[in-house]
């Protein structure tokens, strides 16, 4: 019997430079290495089926990545899967848990992010605060047809906090998932464009995913 399995892991360090597509391939290889009875896609070139529930941008770290796959032998337990995967995961891919899926990937509605700025200057905190508290933050993109489309991203920012201990840390709760998605990078770019302030180097990390009633994505 096929059984769906969901794993939760952190993606850290150098692995932030591995793209979504490359992660897919890497995960599929790791499943092979772990010798799990994974379900393969049908077709000409069968490979282990894996699905990363929400793409992570190149350059981001994450404390809460979620991936689904299926096993063909339902007698294997989640804890057996966990120890098999632990043995093959590289150190910058830290396995948290192996569970039965509770929610659907399409249930994802919010994501928390943390942006850590390196060597920020004195004014940055104020400037960010002023910018983020504005009721309208308009960004523009060129679509596939070559037309300029504007959107107000302010309603997609559900919460923000600026923390000053140990450098400058910006916490963001943003709309995420298939219906409305906001990438923190889009906010930071809009900030640079509208204020003319060049941001210092920053590192973005995704902290958590939630469904639309604000429960942790499980």
């Amino acid at each position: 019997m096929l059984r769906a399995v969901r794993i939760f892991y952190k993606k850290l360090g150098r692995l932030k430079f591995v793209s979504h597509l490359d992660m897919n391939r890497t995960m599929s290889r790791l499943l092979r290495l772990a010798k799990l009875p994974v379900w393969y896609t049908e077709g000409y070139n069968p490979h282990p089926f894996v699905s990363l529930v929400l793409p992570l941008s190149l350059g981001f770290e994450s404390d809460y990545e979620v991936m689904d796959f299926r096993v063909t032998d339902d007698s294997i337990s989640n804890s057996e899967i966990k120890s098999a995967l632990k043995a093959v995961f590289p150190p910058d891919l830290f396995l948290l848990d192996v569970e039965d899926p509770v929610m659907k990937a399409s249930d994802i509605s919010f994501a928390d992010y943390e942006v850590v700025f390196e060597n920020p200057d004195e004014q940055l905190e104020r400037a960010l605060d002023t910018f983020l508290s504005s009721p309208s933050i308009v960004t523009a993109k060129v679509n596939k047809k070559g037309e300029r489309v504007e959107r107000n991203i302010a309603p997609l920012i559900h919460e923000y906090r600026i923390n000053k201990d140990g450098g400058l840390v910006l916490f963001l709760k943003l709309s995420a998932g298939s219906s409305a998605n906001l990438n923190p990078q889009e906010i930071l770019q809009a900030f640079e464009e509208s204020t003319g302030v060049k941001l210092p180097y920053y590192n973005i990390r995704r902290l958590m995913l939630y469904n639309n009633s604000g429960q942790k994505f499980k």
Partner: protein, 629 residues
């Protein structure tokens, strides 16, 4: 298990990064995964326990270098020794180079992210002439003087190996020593000698000792003199260096080190799969093909060794594809047995087996069916020349009938696309031979439409890929002139005119790069200055279309007062001293002359399995030369 090295040195999350400055830059470049290291299977050691740090440099980008088997073998071999830490270095792509120069980040090795200028040995692999400018650029990026004579200390010692070392003269001023032939044994001998000399640090003393190791060529110990007509007058060894340097070969391939793990990259590389070597050398002797001569004699691995090694590789990497590697898969003497053995486990593990350069004409039907199931892409052939006459001249033993028979089988098996490789500018080529290319392609198209079982509505595509012939050292055509660029252009036009069907597509390989390749393939050390001048004017990544600066190259030749045509387009006398005449690859010049003469008579030479024609490689007393026929 794979992480046994990595895990012991990384404890906390934050330590996963070593170089903060690098991390910042990586967000600004394309494909940052090229520069991060830390892939599955990469080897990290504790520096404090290491005697010799070795930077293995591939003078091209990550995706290309990581696909190369030689680097995997030597990386694994060197790291199997506790006193050596071998790391990888690739040429940073232009965007990354710009940032590195701007922020003063010297060229670093991927594993430790340490600058390679502080390493003990920097070893380049020279796979193609068009990567020479990258060698200079990488030395410069490392902050080292590019000329060997300007690097006074023993470390870092700059060495090079690979097929291009069969004529390394255009790099003679830059590289401290070259390793000829197969590197598994001699590299370790060099490292051991280096270790003994490291405390004293006397580079000259070391080089003199090194020149006594068989297979090691120290170019600064040889003096070249020239005739008034610019040909070489004499190659004179100095300070007791050997008059001739013989390449190294591995005697027993079943016993030589083979990696039981590969580094598995995160980003997609050119050949992203496990690779299993099955034999070295080639029995064929196509007269234009350097690889067919310099790796002689043929030495095979036994099927059980191949099977065992291949299984271990798949097991440790998680790869779902394994490819057999050799110059010509079909010439492996026990192929059917080997494939049977391998398919018995690959199928169950959903591993696909890929067999490059395979001739399927003499397979049993069952095996053919299995192999066809595996091969998803189209079928490729390399007839190289359009007529039987010219194929005889180049000793390409493939007949039109063989090609058509295989195409017929392929079409019946559902294939609809065939790829053919040819060369223009081969010795004795006439317009008729060029028309022959178009005719052969047309015959294949016609054959497709004669197949009654072909799928309705599906059309056939025959793609014709044409490159320019480049005469290479240690081939019977080493004496030949390359066609000038004008002549090649006319021939290309003639070919296009001869093709009438829309089902045939013709592609070119750029002939300007082939011209430069011809100059450097048979060049001498007077070209060092040209290489330096071209590199200074911005030449690098010459094999990449977007980077190739032909005008700059021509300007560099002019600046140095050197006529590139002297090297590429001049026919050489049999008696002329070639820049590589002091290097011994086992192939005698007498044999090459005889083969050259036979080419002009249109006479073919049987392959080594049928008959030994006395090329000279028998002096290694190994492999096919001593096996019973």
């Amino acid at each position: 298990m794979i992480w046994q090295f990595a895990i012991s040195f990384f404890f906390s999350e934050r330590e996963l990064w070593m170089n903060k400055q690098l991390e910042h830059l990586l967000l600004e470049v394309q494909k940052p995964g090229r520069y991060t290291g830390g892939e599955l299977g990469s080897v990290v050691k504790d520096k404090s326990n290491i005697d010799v740090r070795f930077a293995f440099c591939f003078p091209d980008m990550y995706e290309v270098g990581m696909s190369h088997l030689g680097i995997k073998i030597l990386y694994s071999l060197l790291n199997s020794r506790e006193d050596i830490w071998c790391e990888r270095v690739f040429a940073p792509w232009v965007d990354m180079e710009e940032l590195m120069r701007k922020h003063n980040i010297p060229l670093f090795a991927l594993e430790s992210q340490d600058s390679i200028a502080d390493f003990d040995i920097i070893g380049f692999t020279l796979q193609y002439e068009l990567s020479f400018s990258n060698v200079l650029n990488m030395l410069d990026l490392a902050g080292l003087p590019i000329r060997s004579s300007d690097r006074r200390d023993l470390s870092p010692l700059v060495i090079a190996g690979g097929p291009c070392t069969c004529n390394p003269e255009p790099l003679a001023d830059f590289i401290d020593l070259f390793v000829l032939g197969e590197g598994e044994e001699v590299t370790l001998e060099l490292v051991d000698l280096y270790k003994r000399h490291k405390p004293k640090g006397d580079k000259q003393a070391f080089l003199l000792e090194a020149s006594k190791i068989p297979g090691v060529y120290v170019p600064s110990l040889y003096e070249f003199s020239y005739n008034p007509d610019r040909t070489i007058k004499e190659i004179k060894p100095q300070k007791g260096a050997p008059a001739r340097i013989q390449k190294r070969i591995i005697k027993d391939l079943n016993k030589v080190h083979y990696p039981d793990r590969f580094i598995v990259p995160y980003i997609q590389i050119v050949h992203d799969r496990a690779v299993q070597e099955i034999f070295r050398g080639c029995i064929r002797g196509c007269r234009f093909c350097q690889a067919g001569y310099i790796y002689r004699p043929v030495r095979e691995k036994s099927p059980d060794v191949i099977n065992r090694q291949a299984m271990a590789l798949c097991e440790s990497t998680g790869y779902d594809e394994i490819s057999l590697s050799s110059l010509s898969t079909s010439d492996y003497s026990r192929l059917e047995e080997l494939l049977g053995d391998m398919l018995s486990w690959t199928e169950g593990q959903k591993i696909s087996l890929s067999l490059p350069s395979l001739r399927i004409d003499n397979f049993s039907p069952e095996l053919l069916e299995k192999v066809q199931k595996i091969r998803s892409s189209g079928l490729t052939f390399a007839p190289e020349a359009g007529t039987q006459r010219l194929r005889d001249v180049i000793n390409k033993n493939i007949t039109e009938q063989e090609i058509l028979n295989t195409c017929k089988t392929a079409f019946e098996g559902g294939y609809t696309s065939i790829k053919l490789y040819f060369m223009l500018g081969l010795p004795t080529e006439s317009l008729e031979d060029i028309e022959g290319i178009a005719n052969l392609a047309q015959k294949i198209v016609d054959l497709y439409y004669r197949n009654p079982q072909r799928k309705k509505g599906k059309s056939v595509n025959v793609s014709v890929s044409v490159s320019t012939f480049v005469p290479k050292p240690f081939t019977p055509f080493q004496f030949e002139a390359q066609d000038t660029l004008e002549t090649i252009e006319e021939k290309q036009k003639h070919l296009v005119k001869s093709v009438t069907s829309k089902k045939i597509t013709v592609n070119w390989h750029d002939s300007q790069t082939s011209f430069l390749e011809a100059v450097f393939a048979r060049g001498d050390r007077r070209l060092c200055r040209v290489l330096e001048a071209a590199w200074k004017s911005g030449c690098k990544f010459d094999s990449w279309k977007d980077c190739f600066l032909f005008e700059n190259w021509m300007e560099a030749f002019k600046e140095c007062g050197i006529d590139p045509g002297f090297y590429a387009n001049r026919k050489r006398e049999y008696g002329e001293i070639m820049p590589w005449d002091h290097l011994d690859y086992g192939i005698s010049k007498r044999f090459l002359i005889k083969e050259n003469q036979k080419a002009y008579e249109g006479l073919t030479t049987p392959n080594c399995r049928i008959e030994c024609t006395g090329c000279g490689a028998a002096k290694f007393r190994e492999g096919i030369c001593v096996e019973s026929r």
